[in-house]
């Protein structure tokens, strides 16, 4: 028992009664990670393997007149070349936006769009072959911003858009919001902009495909969503899903950037089918920037009515998202920019209008926080301004308007456990907020912000009644247990969660549990590592499977020992009478007894989220089995000469429901703070739009991200307010703690130097511009100054729960 010390030799600081849950254990894959033994996708190699390279568009928006691959095909070592017509069936992550082709068919939509694929005996040969492919383009007008797309409905980037170049238009109203806002003693209106940024996982995407002459395809790929890659391959390659095996290799970082099915995955599969040889692709760092699917650049307008005491009477929120060239998760992202405003503070009436534009930039999608960091930034800075006008401390203002636990919001989101009040109290105390706010010398300030995030989406991407997560469990007569689950390890600890939960229920050592994940041939479906769904959903599925196994074993052990089953305890690798510890047997013996009586011992578990309360169109985005909460105080030093903002310390309290492994929870919190700090201060997808819409900085050196020298100190408080829907009460932690960082830093900058940078990232240039304006007696602000006019559709009107609504929309005639 090499790892035994990590189970029992440490202080039992877990929640009472639990042996494993809550403790800071090693992750089950930790040793493989620190010895370099973990096999990432690019670490795989097979005999006779070919290398694939993709030719990518050099035009931002153009018709493809012709592609000549003759010379490339003749190059010695080239085994196959593909172009668009070889794979004519479209795909995409959402059923409503199947708008991507493996290789562009008629036109290209951004610089970096894949146009042709080559498989050759070496990577160098494949690269040389790309240079021999001749593409003739007929350039079309291209658009580098959402506003440009609003202004120019033609030429359309996609002909299926809701209107012109507006991919999606949403208009949802819950109660008479104008009347609600008018009830306020103060009505405030603000504009914000959140620049796009990218995930920047250290591992570049890679995939290896293998085709067997018996008609079976295997794909190893660094994906967060093997289930959806499985679907896309079956569709585009026109193969039965049962003949395709997708294995998600451990991801070297994901953060949402590996959640879509990608062209390169389908291309290597097709090339393997054609050549009959294994085919591998590893993207360059530049190509990872083109795959993108990161944060949508988002312009936001918000108008809120508040009473003198700070209570909100109504809120109207508008967002305009720059979606880039394809749909990706964009429809969901757009809804998310309006969904979660209501789960932190009580908003009795709420109106949301959201639009997503197509532009000729790398496609945007889900990055950590998916569509909610932008509105959270806007909302939390907006509230800071309201607090100042009302002369209420920003922490007090928030505490007065908290959503109560176990309540239904105006937009029909069901809030369960709600620990935000405790979170605010912790960071206010820990940061000495009351001694610092408005009291630090010029150049130094503190800012506060809060947030909430979903623990998985209540509805699946493909609407159906099947579980979102499944687990199979096999008990070996030697005492070993194997857990099979489709979940994908991206560094967040999803493999470990399965082992800890099963170990807790069966009373065995988690390091004696074999975990088999993310393999569509071997593991039951889990929808993927996105939307912070994994701990709650796979955890519940694992819990059910383990409890069923425990029931079977209990039955036979109870009979043998003549002890009532409810008196049996599973702990320390034994099953015993809780009233007489000596009366018992080893776990392995228990399995043997059961196996002799019943045959092979295996169980299954699955998890389906509770039904959503909202029944209106658009109600699918926002519901979750449980919401996490975070509060954050950031301290900022602002250099008045250079505008450089440094953040020495961030205090964060996170309501995780209950930690399954507290060290992993803290790791997720610290990682979220880090990523949020990068977004707050420096990270941005910057494009040159003058001649061609081209990414300015597709490299790790010039895409600025925090190093050890920029990272702040983090003081973490874990708030444990168990949620009945979570396994052992657990809620999410992987994304929520990122959300309050950007607004907390912006609010701290204001406290430090009295200027508002209503735009992320808060670069020195923007701070200086705002300072100069303030010096000139103008408003000390940097940020957007207008929201463009958009032809919104008629609103979907949904009476709120307090108005007696039932979650359904009413037709205009009835109003």
């Amino acid at each position: 028992m090499a790892n035994k010390k990590h189970v029992s030799d440490r202080p039992a600081v877990g929640p009472s009664g639990s042996r494993i849950i809550g403790k800071a254990l090693r992750k089950v894959d930790a040793v493989a990670k620190v010895t370099g033994a973990t096999r990432f996708a690019d670490d795989l190699a097979f005999p006779r393997m070919l290398y694939c390279k993709l030719l990518r568009s050099t035009e931002p928006h153009a018709r493809i007149v012709s592609i000549d691959v003759t010379a490339a095909k003749q190059l010695d070592g080239v085994q196959a070349v593909l172009t668009g017509p070889d794979l004519p069936i479209p795909f995409g992550i959402l059923p409503v936006s199947q708008d991507e082709h493996t290789l562009c068919l008629e036109k290209v939509r951004f610089i970096g769009d894949p146009v042709a694929a080559v498989a050759a005996t070496t990577e160098e040969t494949a690269t040389a072959a790309l240079d021999l492919i001749k593409v003739v383009y007929e350039p079309l007008k291209s658009f580098d911003s959402a506003e440009a797309a609003v202004a120019h409905p033609e030429p359309q980037i996609h002909d299926y858009a809701d209107s012109g170049n507006l991919h999606k238009l949403i208009n949802l109203e819950f109660g008479d919001t104008e009347a609600g806002i008018a009830d306020g003693d103060l009505v405030r209106e603000d504009l914000f902009f959140f620049e796009g940024n990218t995930h920047l996982p250290m591992e570049q995407h890679a995939a290896v495909a293998m085709w067997s002459p018996d008609g079976k395809l295997t794909l190893w790929t660094s994906t967060q969503t093997p289930h959806y890659v499985h679907r896309a391959l079956a569709k585009v390659l026109e193969l039965p899903a049962a003949r395709i095996r997708v294995i998600a290799t451990p991801n070297g970082g994901g953060f949402g950037g590996k959640s879509d099915p990608f062209s390169h995955e389908i291309a290597v599969a097709k090339l393997a089918m054609i050549t009959g040889r294994p085919v591998k692709i590893t993207l360059t760092r530049e190509e990872v920037f083109y795959c993108h699917r990161g944060r949508h650049p988002t312009l936001m307008w918000v108008r809120t009515g508040v009473k003198r005491d700070g209570s909100i009477t109504g809120m109207h929120f508008k967002s305009l998202l720059d979606g880039g060239a394809y749909g990706s998760y964009g429809v969901a992202s757009t809804y998310y920019t309006g969904a979660l405003q209501t789960v932190t503070y009580n908003v009795p009436r709420y109106h949301f209008q959201g639009a997503r534009a197509f532009t000729n930039k790398a496609p945007c999608g889900p990055k950590r926080g998916h569509g909610t960091p932008q509105p959270r930034f806007a909302l939390e800075v907006h509230l800071d301004k309201i607090a100042e006008q009302l002369k209420i401390d920003p922490a007090e203002l928030r505490l007065k308007t908290l959503v109560p636990p176990n309540s239904l919001t105006a937009n029909y989101l069901r809030v369960g456990s709600m620990g935000l009040g405790k979170c605010i109290a912790k960071v206010v105390e820990g940061s000495e907020w009351k001694k610092k706010f408005h009291k630090l010398p010029e150049g130094r300030g503190v800012g506060l912000a809060c947030s909430s995030y979903i623990s998985g989406a209540g509805l699946p991407i493909y609407w159906n009644n099947m579980p979102h997560s499944g687990v199979q469990l096999k008990c070996d007569r030697g005492g070993g247990v194997t857990v099979f689950c489709g979940s994908t390890e991206i560094g967040q600890g999803s493999d470990s969660i399965l082992a800890y939960i099963v170990a807790e229920v069966l009373g065995i050592d988690p390091f004696e549990i074999a975990v088999v994940t993310a393999d569509t041939d071997l593991t039951p479906v889990d929808l993927g590592s996105y939307s912070s769904r994994v701990t709650l959903m796979t955890g519940n599925a694992a819990l059910q499977a383990a409890e069923r196994a425990r029931q079977i074993l209990s039955l036979h052990v109870g009979k043998k020992l003549e002890v009532p089953v409810e008196r049996l305890t599973f702990a320390d690798g034994r099953v015993f009478d809780s009233k007489d510890r000596k009366r018992g047997m080893a776990f392995a013996e228990a399995v043997q007894l059961a196996e002799a009586a019943e045959g092979t011992i295996g169980t299954v578990g699955s998890y389906t989220p509770p039904m959503s309360a909202g029944k209106y169109r658009g109600a699918g985005v926002g519901p979750s089995p449980a919401y996490s909460y975070s509060a954050c105080v950031a301290e900022a030093d602002v250099d008045l000469e250079t505008g450089i903002v440094r953040v020495p310390t961030i205090w964060i309290a996170h309501d995780v429901g209950r930690s399954i492994n507290s060290a992993s929870v803290i790791g997720q919190v610290e990682g979220s703070i880090y990523m949020g700090l990068g977004e707050a201060l420096m990270e941005e997808m910057a494009y040159r739009g003058d001649l061609k819409v081209v990414h300015k900085i597709p490299s790790l050196l010039e895409y600025k991200s925090p190093t050890t020298l920029e990272m702040c100190d983090v003081v973490t408080y874990l708030i444990e307010d168990p949620d009945p829907n979570g396994p052992f009460g657990a809620k999410e932690v992987g994304q929520g703690p990122l959300l309050p960082v950007m607004p907390a830093v912006a609010n701290a900058v204001y406290d430090a130097v009295g200027v508002r940078v209503d735009e992320v990232p808060i670069t020195p240039e923007k701070v200086l511009k705002a300072l100069r304006r303030k010096e000139k007696g103008e408003a000390g602000r940097y940020g957007p100054d207008h929201f463009p006019t958009i032809a919104w559709p008629e609103p979907t009107r949904v009476p709120t729960p307090s108005e007696g609504g039932d979650g359904k929309a009413v037709s205009l005639a009835k109003v």
């Binding site: 600081v13 800071a24 090693r26 992750k27 894959d29 930790a30 040793v31 990670k33 620190v34 010895t35 370099g36 973990t38 096999r39 990432f40 690019d42 670490d43 190699a45 190059l75 010695d76 070592g77 005996t121 070496t122 160098e124 040969t125 040389a128 995930h199 250290m202 591992e203 570049q204 451990p250 991801n251 070297g252 970082g253 994901g254 953060f255 760092r285 991206i490 560094g491 600890g493 507290s662 060290a663 992993s664 929870v665 803290i666 790791g667 990682g671 703070i673 880090y674 490299s699 790790l700 050196l701 991200s705 190093t707 050890t708 020298l709 990272m711 100190d713 983090v714 003081v715 874990l718």
Partner: protein, 173 residues
Amino acid sequence: MGNESKVKIALTVNGEAAEVAFAPHKTLLEVLREDMGLTGTKHGCELGECGTCTVLLDGTPVLSCLVLGLACAGHAVRTVEAMAQGGKLHPLQETFADLGAAQCGYCTPAFLLAAEALLVANPKPTRDEIKDALAGNLCRCTGYIKIYQAVELAAARMRGEKAEPAREWLYGQ
């Protein structure tokens, strides 16, 4: 085109004499991963920007994506594969595993080697010295904090002190 004739060099890899033949344009990173099967060394950019490919060359951290394989003839290369000895983890590997300093694990081999070189040169580094030594390595998962703590804890143990992680590192304040 990959058909160019290979060159052969002799060098020391992880303490053992080795000979390896490879195409002359290959970087040390490629030689290690592709010609010697040492895939524990990772890559993040192949342009010297991220530090993910860090290995020790004669004890000094280098970016193996910027070093030609040919330049390593007669030199000693150390990779993550050599850190655990006799089935036992290196103290840095122990603390990285215990504290969760490895999340996705992709940048981890590089951090381990950069930290090892630091501790050889400076057995009792301050937090700022650790930050300086690791400033060339990017990690997108951890926010670096668990890495600093793991280096400090391992350093203390390597100095022979009986050190345990602080409770708040693992359980919060």
